[in-house]
Symmetry: C2
Subunit: 197 residues, 2 copies
């Protein structure tokens, strides 16, 4: 429309779009750890330094690429400052509070899109690398059991997100955050801190 | 192809198909309790007695309409015969054993299809009426809290189905049924039998 066809300018909207498209493709194909910022940059035809300049770390690039509007490390950052016995309830309040807020529609769209695509590994990458990293760092999990603990927490929280926002099953859909924290918090606490069976 | 166009014969494949199509439409629009066998029959242009003859009860018709290959009342029937303290583990073993078996592909296809359709109420109906009925009858739940207990159980089991069969997140995806029962059984037990917070 404006005559700016052809050349791709660093930082212009089409450069950002090309980087994000390249990132989505590579993260889906190779997962989080198998994807380098350099490879994303090459896929977009730009320099890796430019990718870092515009999107920050690889984790921040991933979150931008899959349109997750807030970094789980920020959502779960409160875990540092609560007593260990309140970790479960704090996780539930942080996640449900986030989803109940402004990000609800984006979250539902992302979840639905990822669930419908049999080839996508985005959710696996998101839970297995991003959430696991945030939980492990903020909740001080035993490294030997951290992957299992994170997956169990994800199963309980994921099931709640599914029933509350996608299926719309009452009373899960209509419970307050306080009620959900009372019901689900002890489960998450057990998965995070109790001895493994 | 065979010249049998036009007239719909009782019990012929096109009659069965018409009944199932009418059932899917009405269950999705009106939910389980809001749909009568008579209305399904009217929608298909056949007699209600014929629907009962070919599909049995309304619950059996629902299961056939949404292509759920086995009745939850059968899967959960074992709950009658176990000590009350083993209800949680028994539920986990019954559901995961069922999904790990021959019905895995059909289950995944159904779950994916229902999650992608924002208008569908099939999963809500399935959990809220069919599963709730089977759990309530077989696990002898307190009627005042049965809906909440069932929804909480569904959130934990649903999250496991999601991570194990759709997302494919390890170690949930690769755990044995025994391991899953040890991890998740106590959660389901708590939701079924512990005092509500």
């Amino acid at each position: 429309m404006t005559g700016r066809r052809g050349g791709r300018r660093p930082g212009s909207p089409d450069t950002r779009g090309a980087v994000l498209a390249s990132a989505r493709t590579l993260f889906a194909e190779r997962g989080f750890t198998g994807t380098s910022v350099r490879a994303v940059a090459e896929g977009a035809g730009v320099d890796a330094a430019l990718v870092h300049h515009y999107f920050g770390t690889k984790r921040e690039l991933f979150l931008a690429a899959v349109a997750i509007p807030l970094d789980p490390a920020v959502v779960l950052g409160a875990l540092h400052s609560v007593p260990r016995a309140q970790l479960g309830e704090t996780v539930v309040r942080a996640v449900i509070g986030f989803w109940d807020g402004d990000h609800r529609e984006a979250g539902i769209a992302l979840l639905r899109a990822q669930l419908t695509d049999p080839e996508s590994t985005i959710l696996r990458t998101f839970i297995g690398d991003i959430i696991a990293g945030a939980l492990g760092a903020n909740a001080d999990l035993d490294p030997d059991t951290a992957a299992t603990r994170t997956a169990l927490v994800a199963s309980q929280i994921g099931g709640i997100l599914l029933l509350r926002y996608i299926v719309g099953l009452d009373p899960i859909a209509s419970m307050s955050v306080d009620e959900l924290a009372a019901h689900i918090g002890p489960t998450v606490q057990r998965y995070l801190t109790d001895p493994m069976p």
